[in-house]
């Protein structure tokens, strides 16, 4: 079916501004993705899936300008012993990165991986699977045109976290990164991500987790005020495997984080959580799609947003329980704390269940600071500002507690505290 003219034109214009990297093992996947994105067209405001978040600036041919944040604040995860991989405006920096060798892990760069590569079985494969029942053309565009990224193969317990650091140095950079992570049976790894990456960032990550594999992911999206990001995680879980992902977003004019999870092995566990703190011209969108397609799997979605000065939060979360996925345990909560009347939270929680022996719960709320709690704290001598901060951190706690590692929890909490203190100058 032909695309509407306006969508066709926008898609053509965007594609014309890109060059597909040529050659190598990923070529076929890239060609296939290009054909798919041409057929789908890039999203526009008329698409139901983009009802609350305008995709125009993510689709337009060139990245809108984004000023660099000037701050002398130390970067997050500084205290964590980790293997650092640095990208500057979407380009791998060997100079700033650590040596990529580590026990039980092999890491290659997408841009220069050898001709025959294990990632061929994953690259674009999970992304393609994630296109039904809802299309995600920005991720497909990414598969076709990604210029860099890392391919991480985990064969045992990784001795320390792998940390992807995204630096933003050009006001007009337009970065497309694609990472692939393959966690073998019984293997375990923690992936950290932080930084604003670029003026506009399109990132896709595919994570294949084999039986008994464990993947932890903690990310802090850079707080440059004008940056834009569309990210997507596609993961497929084998039997008894574990996927846990947490994201903190502080600022950025536009962020859309999609997470597409497929539980295909029995007894698998997937948790995805997010805390965002937004101020003023800020839109943050968490879009999650979890498919239960095996027995006795557990999924949790915990999203908390603190919004002030007219910021907007969006949550679209769906749990699909397929026929036969009995004993599914699904939990979904999305909540916003609106610190003033100008801010808004738009939520669309969905459940679609075709099995009869499942427990799925979902809830979504928006509210102001609890006046009773605030008075209680103040009556004990805590000033209104710090009391509000305490209640705000408390509000985010359920999401932050999803991070298993306490050191990482502390790192995240200290960022939230820093954000809160900036309001008071």
């Amino acid at each position: 079916m032909a695309l509407p003219q306006i969508k066709q034109d926008a898609t053509d214009a965007r594609l014309a501004a890109l060059d597909m990297p040529q050659g190598g093992w990923a070529q076929a996947a890239r060609e296939d993705a290009l054909a798919r994105v041409k057929a789908m067209g890039l999203p526009n405001a008329r698409d139901e899936y983009w009802k609350y978040t305008r995709p125009d600036t993510l689709v337009q041919p060139n990245a809108p300008k984004a000023a660099l944040l000037e701050t002398d604040e130390a970067l997050i995860f500084g205290e964590v012993d980790r293997l650092k991989i640095v990208f500057v405006d979407g380009v791998f920096s060997a100079e700033e990165s650590d040596d990529l060798s580590m026990a039980h892990v092999t890491i290659d760069r997408l841009a220069d991986a050898p001709d025959i590569h294990w990632a061929k079985d994953v690259y674009g494969v999970l992304e393609t699977r994630g296109q039904t029942p809802v299309q995600r053309p920005l991720a497909t565009l990414n598969t076709a045109f990604a210029t860099d990224g890392v391919l991480i193969h985990v064969t045992g317990k990784a001795p320390k976290p792998i940390s992807l650091i995204y630096r933003h140095e050009s006001e007009v950079s337009d970065a497309i990164l694609h990472h692939v992570v393959k966690v073998d049976s019984g293997a375990e790894v923690t992936l950290l991500e932080n930084g604003p990456a670029a003026a506009r960032f399109n990132k896709c990550m595919e994570v294949e987790i084999a039986d008994n594999g464990t993947f932890h992911h903690v990310r802090a999206q850079g707080r440059d005020h004008e940056r834009r990001a569309a990210t997507a995680i596609f993961t497929r879980l084998g039997e008894e495997s574990v996927f846990k992902s947490f994201t903190l977003t502080a600022n950025g004019v536009l962020t859309r984080n999609e997470c597409v999870i497929e539980l295909t092995g029995d007894n698998a566990v997937a948790h995805v959580a997010g805390a965002c703190v937004g101020d003023g011209d800020f839109l943050h969108d968490d879009t999650v799609f979890i498919t239960h397609d095996a027995l006795n799997c557990e999924s949790r979605q915990v999203f908390k947003k603190v919004l002030r000065n007219g910021a907007t939060g969006v949550f679209q979360g769906k749990i699909l329980v397929k026929e036969g996925a009995q004993k599914t345990d699904g939990y979904q909560i999305s909540q916003s704390l609106l610190l003033d009347e100008d801010s808004q939270f738009l939520a669309k929680p969905e459940l679609e269940i075709y099995a009869d022996d499942v427990a799925c719960s979902h809830g979504s709320t928006s509210g102001a600071i609890d006046e009773e709690g605030l008075f209680y704290l103040r009556s004990r001598g805590i000033d209104e500002g710090p009391a509000t901060d305490l209640l705000t951190i408390a509000f985010l706690a359920e999401a932050v507690m999803e991070i298993e590692d306490e050191t990482l929890q502390d790192e995240i909490n200290s960022r939230v505290e820093a954000w809160l203190s900036r309001r008071r100058g």
Binding site: G373, L377, S379, L390, A394, L396, E398
Partner: protein, 251 residues
């Protein structure tokens, strides 16, 4: 110490007068009890003194050691020495009891220009005081009042009082929801804090709390005023005859 003169208070959102000229003086070292039927304005008085939103003072004054407290923010009153033990202590999920108490203690110290309590010192003090109130370590770690039983919540109020060492303690129906054993424990906690420099205002429906916390003065409050003041025997009179006689007398 606490001096309330001709205090008139109405609800901010509706034109409804709750306190209609309360006069009351609590001296340092003394325990004053306020008794009265439902709706007489007892809890309103405690909220107005501690600075809760939603009330408008239309006349009169309240001072602590000569300082006008009605113009202060709730946290300033706390630093000045006012403490309200809530009838319904608020649950605050996500904030640890210890974090909360340490923040409170140090906020008040800071406001008074005193040195903050170190983490080690704080731990030492709180452990000792918690032990006296039979509050276990687990309760200290849990989020403020979340999942606490009625008795645990009230003991937690008294623990806060013990840690903050206020000058003027206002107890709003601290006996409500407590069984006899829990009430004794709470009363012991309060009695341990009785001190020459500290005043207490104990608001209660029933005489039984006053068996354990012996008051020096008892006031009967009705329809927004103190209608009768006497010694501990006044509480017994209420216990035996109810409020009807006293109310009839006042009219």
């Amino acid at each position: 110490m606490l001096e309330i003169k001709n205090l008139h208070v109405q609800l901010e959102e509706e034109d409804k007068q709750i306190l209609k000229g309360v006069n009351l003086t609590v001296e340092a070292g003394k325990v004053h009890a306020i008794m009265g039927p439902n709706g007489s304005g007892k809890s309103t008085l405690s909220y107005v003194l501690s600075g809760k939103d939603g009330y408008e003072v239309t006349d009169g004054s309240a001072t602590l050691d000569g300082e006008d407290i009605l113009d202060m923010e709730p946290e300033e009153r706390a630093a000045a020495g006012v403490f309200l033990a809530f009838q319904y202590p608020v649950e605050i999920p996500g904030v640890g009891n210890m974090t909360f108490l340490r923040t409170a203690v140090n906020s008040q110290r800071k406001a008074r220009g005193e040195e903050e309590m170190s983490a080690t010192e704080f731990l030492k003090v709180i452990r000792a005081k918690a032990k006296e109130l039979k509050i276990d370590a687990d309760m200290l770690k849990r989020p403020v009042n979340v999942g606490f039983s009625g008795g645990e919540k009230k003991r937690n109020e008294i623990l806060q009082m013990a840690m903050l060492e206020p000058k003027m303690c206002i107890l709003d129906e601290t006996d409500s929801g407590l069984d006899v054993d829990a009430m004794k424990l709470v009363a012991e906690g309060v009695n341990a804090l009785r001190d020459e420099g500290r005043g207490f205002l104990v608001i209660t429906h029933y005489q039984r709390l006053l068996d354990h916390i012996k008051p020096d003065v008892v006031h009967i409050m009705a329809d927004g005023r103190i209608i009768k003041t006497g010694g501990p025997e006044l509480a017994l009179e209420v216990e035996n005859n109810g409020y009807a006689d006293i109310l009839a007398e006042a009219v």
